[in-house]
Amino acid sequence: MKSKLVLFIVVAVIFQPIIGQDSLMTILSKEMEREMKELSQQENPPYYIDYRVDDIKSLGLHASFGSLIQENEDRARVITVNVKVGDYNFDNTHEFKGEFSQPYQNALGTVRIPLEDNPEAISQIIWRAVDQNYKNASSNFTALKNRKNRYNEQDVILDFSKEYPVEYFEPVYPDETFKIDKDDWIKRLKEYTTLFQGDSTIFHCEAALSFVYDRKYFLSTENSHIIQNSIYCQVQFMVSIRHNKGTLLPLNKSYTAFHPADLPKHEVIIQDIKNLYQTLKKLQTSELAEPYAGPAILSPEASGVFFHEIFGHRIEGHRLENISDGQTFKDKLNTKVLPKGFNVISDPTLQQFNDQDLIGYYKYDDQGIEGKKVQVVEDGILKHFLMSRRPTKEFSSSTGHGRAQAGFLPVSRQSNLIIESANPLSDEDLRKMLIKACKKQDKEFGYYFKSVVGGLTITDRYNTNVFNITPTKVYKIYVDGRPDELVSGVELIGTPLTMFSNIEAAGNVKKVFTGFCGAESGHIPVTAISPALFVRKIETQKSPEYDSKIPLLNEPEYE
């Protein structure tokens, strides 16, 4: 009792300044206190409430073939409330074995609150959101409690981990931080896409700049008060060319940084786009590859996506107690899951890698828990899962990986996923290994997956547990020493455990893949940092094919 009291006093003394420093936090705190007080009179009072507010400013510019096709600038404040009824041991989110899990979205979906710090206007909207969420939580809890006796649960796992409260405050960024020279950027985007004019086989060409600043608020009835900034900008190119046989081949390129000033220089991007065009022209006449099973090298970027999909999603803690999930690694802790010498780390505290900004970085997660570096695999042995506040049998506390898009409730998700090898090999050595393996498997060639656009995986047990990676640049490496040959129309497919057992070696240069990962708690920014991988056996399938026709008339300027 005494220790609790001391904690309370310390907390109160520390938190007062944060509430005082930010008028929105003051409004949110007062409303939370009022609601908790009134709800405490209910038969099933909540034991926990949290609010998240994402105050998001965004700017988007899109150009195509030298014209600006879209320009938008928005600001929105989105609130997400989480009301929990019961207690840490057993609450309204409890999942009995054999029953499907709770929805991951708020009762009222995406709720917007005013952009201005008006106490009555903000409080009334929150009141309705909390009231509805409380009603749902309370009725779920009653229903679950009534079913409790029906299940004889052997493992007593908390429904919500007990954590320390946090107070953290970052000052708001000055206006200049979110300012860019819009006219200059429009000019640049137009110039990038002008490079593709006059080629009737380029079917789609778009350059876009997006710049997003999210000032994130978190507060809970456990006395956590957090205000942090999240910012990133991205330049993207999406181009498709018509293959000589009619199908369409996409090629993408993107650059990401926290601030536009840190994006590559204009000249560098121009040169990259010129190179991209050269690659597209080579792809246009490249061979459309047949399905294949055999050895392959995955470039660092391709390996990053590969690991994110086949490995990263299977170490997200909340899945492992869910009966409907494939639970690939549930009972694999302290066993060998990857070749000796392989390490896998999830590190949300990392802000840069080789001068590249990492958008998987955050200070606190969306449950108000400090993001911690997690050694997931050490020397090939599985050591830890990525934990939100949903405990597993083995891990009772969060590692600060509870993440969600605004409007969704957090589950355990990835941040910056880092793959390392204690025995890195040079590109030349990887190539030698590939050729050796090809010979052994009696293959004329192996594959080199150079760049990828993304991938997907399925982890539940009601569907086939497969993954699919979409490469954009793939080369055949011939055993007989012929030059490497660019091919197209290939997708990398497979099942997780077979893949893990086929990874044999890693390269000595790590690179970053930056992406937006979509799962049950929405889309979140992530990165994967990986060396190249040599895989003894992979499988490919043909990409979907679309017949495409060149327009009957020439482009207007070339009529």
Partner: protein
């Protein structure tokens, strides 16, 4: 689970634009006066970029577009709507959002064949093709080559589809040994070439002022603890329509709309949610009522909601006579004439090929086409379309327009129903069995930021030859109730506030005492046009209702829902001039079921 290097949240608007660019659509909308100029070239200065791009691309395509083995196009039309949008939402005095957007909506129509027989009005099972055709979004800027590039690809795609469809149609006709004369209805009607250029200064709305207006209107609802949610939204859509076709028409005119919506929600003690709103629509934000005037209306709205919390619940079904006043009367006519599937809009039957290769015209059982020259409503009523009428009793008419979306000047006085007998229907350039020519009613309807073309009303007058004073109508209502052995009859009257969409209060009148009670907890069962065929007694006064009509869209005939933001502008601007009170023999109402679980808030409203 998926990972993508592109942020999925940044491309939403792009995909929307790509999707609709594939479809063949035409254009149109109403507009409001200003001046005509028939000398096009003299006035094309700043617009020259858009119109030049349209004309140059149209000329190139109509002359050169040709797919080997297929016919060339015989008709091409382009429409570009250059749009500037602004929308602000506020609640209890604070801004929730304030967004503006600039874009161009565009439509391309390409026909292969000729006026009598072309690729349109034909349904067949197209072969499944996995063919990808490129398209480029129309630039927001006035970018000559950008506009042409977008038109070039869309024309290419629409032409491919039209050419293949036409070939299939001709092959079918040949195969079945039909002659052109066997096809009873031509596919496209001829229309005069129009060169119309209506200049207008761009609206000069002040964003800051509109934000302040939304704040001040919404703030007044802070005074009502019974209101659980509320807001005010203000929306301005300012656009210019450009239309060119291969017949030589060149048209440019402004098309603007502005609205304010104020809404509020409360809950009765038994958990019934009661929400109402008022929407004001004008063609210029400066014509919208002042903040003070809307605030006064908002107070009435809030007090009415509080009164409704304690109103009597309808406990059993009602079927009997109903007296409708003002917007309720206009809503009844609007719904029966234009929202229902059986309405005053021409219906084209399309040529179909069945699996047995029979060729026939589709049958539209709901169309009023077959009832031309027949009695469809009571003999004391006539319905006339007067699209050119700008004002009625000094009230400006929102639905007035000069030219339609197909570049056709509408017929000024079009009698749709004469003394109960159906004479014709509204139509565009696609002939129907009984309406072979366009009467200029293919108009623009605003939907989720896009302008879509649809045949629909502009200004509609319902004339009544036997006007009866309101008090007399009320007496008749009670008498009728008595005759039917009812204890109560129903009166629907709108709340006494401004605006075009407003709450409709439903009252029961005791037939014995004449006492009126406000009702809640009921819904209206949609009526059919036949309700107007029986006794319809109307008042001797006319009333104007300016509304956004959702044509052929099932809607509550009276209790129109308010929509916030630009949604408040969804539909086609129209005006109804109707008798201000209408007594009909029968309407049906049913009670809304009560919830058995408590829906009332567990926590008290923080606004006290």
């Amino acid at each position: 689970m998926n990972l993508n290097m592109n942020n999925p949240n940044t491309n939403i608007k792009i995909s929307r634009m790509f999707i609709f660019s594939y479809y063949k659509r035409l254009i149109l909308q109403s507009l409001f006066t200003l001046y005509f100029c028939f000398s096009l070239n003299a006035h094309i200065t700043q617009d020259s970029v858009i119109l030049s791009a349209m004309k140059d691309e149209l000329n190139r395509n109509i002359n050169d577009l040709s797919l080997p083995g297929y016919d060339k196009p015989f008709y091409i039309a382009y429409t570009i709507v250059d749009v500037q949008n602004f929308e602000v939402n506020a609640t209890l005095g604070a801004l929730l959002s304030s967004d503006d957007d600039r874009y161009k909506d565009w439509h391309v129509r390409v026909m292969v064949g000729d006026y009598d027989l072309n690729d349109e009005n034909y349904s067949y099972t197209k072969p499944q093709e996995a063919i990808f055709r490129p398209s480029i979004q129309m630039p927001a800027e006035d970018d000559y080559l950008g506009i042409r590039r977008s038109l070039w690809l869309t024309t290419n795609n629409v032409y491919h589809s039209a050419a293949q469809t036409y070939k299939s149609k001709v092959d079918l006709i040949k195969h079945k040994q039909l002659n052109k004369s066997d096809l009873e209805i031509p596919d496209f009607s001829k229309a005069p070439v129009e060169n119309i250029y209506i200049n207008s200064p761009m609206l000069r709305y002040n964003k800051h002022d509109l934000e302040q207006k939304a704040r001040s209107i919404s703030a007044v609802l802070k005074k009502y603890a019974e209101i659980h949610a509320s807001g005010a939204s203000l929306s301005v859509v300012e656009s210019v329509v450009y239309f060119v076709n291969s017949e030589g028409s060149v048209v440019r005119y402004p098309l603007s709309l502005a609205s304010v919506t104020v809404y509020a929600e409360t809950m009765a003690e038994d958990g019934e949610t009661i929400k109402h709103g008022i929407t004001y629509v004008e063609n210029d934000p400066d014509k919208l009522p002042s903040a003070d005037s809307i605030i006064e209306d908002t107070k009435i709205l809030a007090e009415n909601l509080i009164e409704l919390r304690n109103a009597v619940r309808l406990e059993e079904n009602y079927s009997g006579p109903v007296l409708l006043q003002n917007e309720a009367a206009a809503g009844l006519f609007e719904n029966l004439f234009f929202n229902k599937s059986e309405n005053l809009i021409a219906s084209r039957e399309s040529l179909q090929s069945s699996s047995q290769m029979n060729v026939y015209y589709s049958q539209n059982d709901f169309s009023l086409e077959s009832k031309i020259d027949k009695l469809v409503i009571a003999k004391n009523l006539s319905v006339i379309s007067k699209p050119g009428l700008k004002k009625y009793n000094e009230i400006p008419l929102l639905g007035s327009f000069i030219i339609d979306a197909e570049g056709v000047i509408p017929q000024k006085n079009l009698i749709l129903i004469e003394k109960g007998v159906l004479k014709t229907l509204l139509n565009g350039r696609t002939p129907s069995r009984n309406v072979p020519e366009s009467n200029g009613h293919n108009r623009f309807s605003y939907s989720e930021g896009n302008f879509i073309k649809q045949v629909g009303p502009g200004v509609i007058k319902v004339e009544n030859t036997e006007g009866i004073a309101f008090e007399q109508l009320k007496k008749s209502l009670i008498e009728q109730g008595k005759e039917e052995g009812l204890t109560e009859v129903i009166l629907i009257k709108p709340l006494n506030v401004g605006g075009s969409v407003k709450p409709m209060n439903i009252y029961s009148i005791a037939v014995k005492t004449g006492e009126e009670h406000l009702l809640r907890g009921l819904k209206i069962i949609p009526a059919e046009l036949s309700v107007l065929k029986r006794n319809v007694a109307c008042s001797d006064n006319y009333f104007v209702s300016n509304v956004m009509v959702k044509v052929s869209y099932p809607s509550d005939m009276i209790q129109r829902n308010y929509l916030t933001g630009s949604l408040g502008l969804e539909g086609m601007p129209a005006s109804f001039i109707v008798p201000d009170a209408v007594l009909i023999d029968e309407m049906n109402f049913s009670p809304i079921r009560k919830s058995l679980t408590s829906l009332t808030p567990t926590i008290s409203n923080p606004v006290k």
